[in-house]
Symmetry: C5
Subunit: 338 residues, 5 copies
């Protein structure tokens, strides 16, 4: 448990308090107290219950680690759960970590089982300058939320890049394989999760930014609205990624289907040329006594001629149908767009 205290008109944020100082600190209505509880112990939870008199259910909610973002109002505090992105998250294994926070008149409590880069950033920030604390507890909380939402940006860029890469892979696909399919599925799952989490988060921030809670001063609202704008961008992009990924799946299926067409065409062309030739050869392999052609002097060469005519005829037919040779046409279109 780390305690940071900013007293009015102070030039520095004080540190190094212990939990015994808390009741004293909280009495100073003009101070801003931030209690950060990383990897909280049972003693920490007891403080939440005994010193802050939080509702037992909210403390229980803190302990559990599988809640969606939400905000709950109690007579003299707000309880909220927000999700940050894991430091080691990737688009195909997108995952979030949970931050429980309490906002009182003159204090902010952050409670988290996982490391939060945003918390570290704010700690560092207030150790150099007390600006983040000067406008009160709600502003301090806004700083933390702002940092959390900002960490979504690189993940969104990762998604963007991965989807682009995926589409390039699909259109350059050498042979259909399940690995691309698995990538699509993983990305889709990641995007769905991102969308779900950020939609809930957006609602939490929306409620905080529209003046619903008296604990957040109207002067603070533009700051929360700013966070809200950022999270709206996250949800909007998540939505568009979902569209792009389902488009990728369609593209993949189409590319696979085109390849099948190509394969079938090769097979058909080979069969349609070779089967008649083989038949002709078969005919003159028959052992009838009376087959005049066999004894004619140029019979063999004539048959070769016939075979060449048949094969050329077939090739011409397929060329006219656009099955062969018109590849250039197709490629030209492709090149125009390059």
């Amino acid at each position: 448990m780390e305690i940071f205290v900013y007293r009015e008109n102070a030039t520095k944020v004080e540190e190094g308090f212990s939990e015994a100082d808390l009741p004293e600190l909280l009495k100073d209505e003009e101070a801003v107290v931030w209690i950060n509880m990383p990897q909280p112990t049972q003693a920490d939870e007891q403080i939440l219950l005994d010193v802050f008199h939080f509702h037992p259910l909210t403390v229980e909610d803190c302990r559990e680690n599988r809640h969606y973002p939400k905000v709950e109002e109690f007579p003299d505090y707000l309880y909220l759960i927000v999700h940050g992105v894991r430091a080691d998250t990737s688009p195909d294994h997108f995952n979030t970590i949970e931050l429980d926070a309490f906002l009182g008149r003159n204090y902010v409590i952050t409670y988290h089982h996982d490391d939060f880069r945003s918390i570290e950033n704010v700690k560092q920030q207030i150790s150099t300058s007390p600006i983040a604390c000067q406008r009160g507890a709600a502003f301090l909380l806004h700083q933390i939320l702002d940092q959390i939402v900002d960490y979504y940006s690189p993940v969104l860029d990762d998604f963007d890049e991965r989807i682009d890469q995926l589409e390039a892979d699909i259109f350059n696909l050498k042979r259909p394989n399940n690995s691309i399919l698995e990538q699509i599925m993983d990305l889709k799952r990641g995007v769905l999760r991102l969308r779900r989490i950020s939609a809930k988060q957006r609602e939490v921030i929306l409620r905080m930014s529209r003046g619903e809670f008296p604990l957040i001063d109207p002067q603070m609202l533009p700051f929360y609205r700013d966070v809200h704008d950022h999270i709206v961008r996250v949800t909007d992009l998540a939505e568009s990624y979902r569209d792009l990924i389902s488009g990728s799946l369609e593209a993949y299926l189409s590319v696979v289907s085109n390849r099948m067409n190509e394969i079938m065409k090769v097979l058909t062309i080979f069969s349609a040329i070779m089967l008649p030739l083989t038949f002709i050869a078969g005919v003159y392999g028959m052992n009838f006594d009376n087959m005049p052609e066999l004894h004619s002097r140029f019979g063999y060469y004539t048959v070769w001629g016939i075979m060449i005519v048949v094969a050329s005829g077939m090739l011409f037919l397929f060329w006219k149908r656009g099955w062969i040779g018109s590849a250039k046409g197709g490629e030209k279109i492709g090149r125009d767009r390059g």
Copy 2:
């Protein structure tokens, strides 16, 4: 019919009353009376009508067993239907059982045709400690609802596991078969049912948790909100399972389509190599009198040479098209992601 009575400041919950004691018990406004009716008889229903004066239609609703969750307010009682999961339910045969409950000022009535593990748990709990009754009837009902919703968790885990297993099965699919398809269909049906039921249930709990009914004291609302949070998690997961399952179907179709591609490629490669060779052999099987090649000394070996060249050429062509040999490329991508 089992009757449990907690009188104010008592240290134990009393049992062993009969229905004749009911009018007397209900008069004590400070007591909490729980009447549990498992496999109810017509006599039980008569009590609901005569002693409690419930609306005949609600009693009829109790008797029928195919209602969706709902809550109805009457002047001095609440009537609600909630669904619990069957003890023997499984993701592909997901099923629920119905609990009818009445909440009065100082009583709770639970009415159910099927065994309810949650009811048993609460019975056991109050037999050891009266805590669940000390805060009044609404709190007792909350305990029961909480237990019911808690039993959804293992089912959700089952769904999770089954869907994971399903996806693994799909990507390791040896041969497309209808059994996987049937599994997908069964899971989909289960998830759709879970989603439908839990969405209705969520609405029931939402109405109870937002202070709409005077019978539920504002101090009880955080407890109901807690149950609401849990059921929201159920609906959200059901929603995401639905997405995952429809993703599975797409994946399955894609995998099948990929296999088809593979099969066609094998066929095409074989045909494209064997048909020309067979044709060449056919040519020299012809019986023309005048076929100089047949009499040349190395004719036979030359033909073998031509055949090998043709076959190699074909193989090279297919290799260049990525139809053979590039399997490693595909597998490499797969391995990178492992």
Copy 3:
């Protein structure tokens, strides 16, 4: 036109009135008058206009027979259209019939071009006991609506059964044929129609059950809420049938696709085994003078040996790929689930 009159405290419902008695009957505020107009004539319509002074447009609406369910409030009467199921309807030719009804302070008018089993039932019911009339006109109307909604149940069961049958058919499909497809299309159309009608009907009953109309006494609302619950079940099931049917279509397409895979595999296996063998036979059918193998003593047997080796090798390869023999694996999974 049939007229049924229940006077207060009477023990029987009176019949046999003619339209000339109507003005007199309607004056008795305590009576309940039910006018049923099956296959109404122009004279009947004139009564609606002249005796009841209904709005000409509603009377016109009655005459037409292609309206969706709706309810309209007029200063002293309610006009509603509800749909009942045809007696001879079937899931794949689902159809409804239209009932126009007017509810006044002391009368109910039912107007219908088709036979209504629910109307017949209520007629029979009041001929034996006046209960349905004792609570006033709104209760009588509720009885009729209740009967109408009840007749949806067997249709829903039919849909259930047909969809189950359909799925069984699909998974046991011997050969893809358009007949199953036509069944799916017909069922889908039926379900869409059921869903559309019942959704509109639900809204009508909802408005009647929430106390919007002063003509329906608050004491009657639980009865209308009961009808509403039933119709909600209809719409919910219709919704789930739609999901199941679209699942059926997917299943069907998948089964067809699986069969195609099977067919292609058979073709490929045959081709891949036979083509090389035929080629080998072709080689030794060549007529070169100098083919030493032909003259070796065991040449013929050696070739047979080679052919057997090639064929076995191919079979082994396909077995390893899971194209043959692993059928048991697939069936095992299927059996586990049985």
Copy 4:
């Protein structure tokens, strides 16, 4: 510009006024003036601006011809745009024409670049009887709207018929061709357009029918509600046509897929029978010196025997798999449903 005037208690609608009479005519508060402007000139627009003092933007809106239906309220007039169906429209080239209308206390102005059959009808109607004008300007406008909406009915019937025809074509499909696909696409586009237009139109009429505008007397509302009912039917049918057409596409794809299955089966059956036979023939076409079978007396007949056995075995195998002969089963199902 045509001007029709109905003065109170008159027995005929007067015609033949010129624009110079307008200011005079509009002063008579009890009269009903209808100004119809077909193919309006700039002079007509000037009248709208100078005589009626309409907002310049609405006059500009009139001039443009690509607006969706809308209604706008101004202090003393309503401006509305509605769409009628073109006389020469067809389901696959569905198109609408635009009518701009102004409703004032005692006048209606209709302004349209295209011929409107509904306008012509109302003109003819009032030339024979002044009924349409007797109830005021709002009633006259209702008459026109009613006619416009009525003209959607035959188009809906056309859609109905075309979709039925389409489905019949699909199930009787001789060979898949792009023409059916183009028909589906055209119909889909038509339906989407119909749905979009009618949804906007419905909203316009809804606003007019719920008493939002004081210019429309409450006594007129049932008439507008009646128009609303009709347009609701149009949107509902458009919705259901959309479902049917997307069902048609699915059916078409399925039928094509079934045909592919049939084709592949034919190919496989032929190959699986012919390839082994050809191989056997090839074996005995080999030229080994030592092939005892060749010299046995009944060798040739034995080989024929073997061939027949192989071919029959194959046929039996395919018959057992249901690939041949079971056609009757499939057709039987089809016939049952006919």
Copy 5:
């Protein structure tokens, strides 16, 4: 930074002011001041903060360039972000540029990093006539918004044309290739982006047009409603383009599937005719000593006869199945619709 000032009753818009004149200019409540900031510098931003006292967060929002359209109300100004289309945008690379604008009682500020054709147009307009400024700041802003929305029209036409071209390409498709698929994907992405942006923009304009902000005089609302109508048309068309493009994808897949059918049919017809003939030839290529047919005089010709019969039989069979020759039927349907 360019400053344009219109003083009341002036006949010209004055130019050539510097930022130092701003405080003076803004004091004149009757003037209209337009400050345009193309490629704004840090000095410009400082003016927004120091002279106009805008909220620091909105100034920060201006600087960033990836916001969606929005409007925010502050005590004495409105801040809005709208998107215009890039001059060089194309349907498959649809892109927008951002305009930040502030509306005060007597000033409009436009702030943009990219060139805006609409801004240039308004500048040119006011340089010739002060009309756009005569009705106050809100009207001037409306002029700018109107121009921005107008520039969407040619883009919509481009989309229209491209989609038409795409469909034509699909139905005339010579061979399935990924290029068409890429075009579909690009267009889809463009349309999704257009739809997203214009939906947000529509909401901004809607809020401005319904009298929500006191800074916009009620007399200005019809003008904003007019802009709203235009942007509604954009969103509606974007919606319909989305439908058309997803229809194109379906059409493309269908066309590819039809081609596959054609290919398979060719293959099957060839195989089914050639395989039996080759088999027959193979039979009489066998070397049995005792093959009476070989020695009959007309054996060879008889075999030719049999072969012709077999081939004709096959052709007849396929013709009857509609696989060959019935092409005319298919084309006839196509021609009927042309």
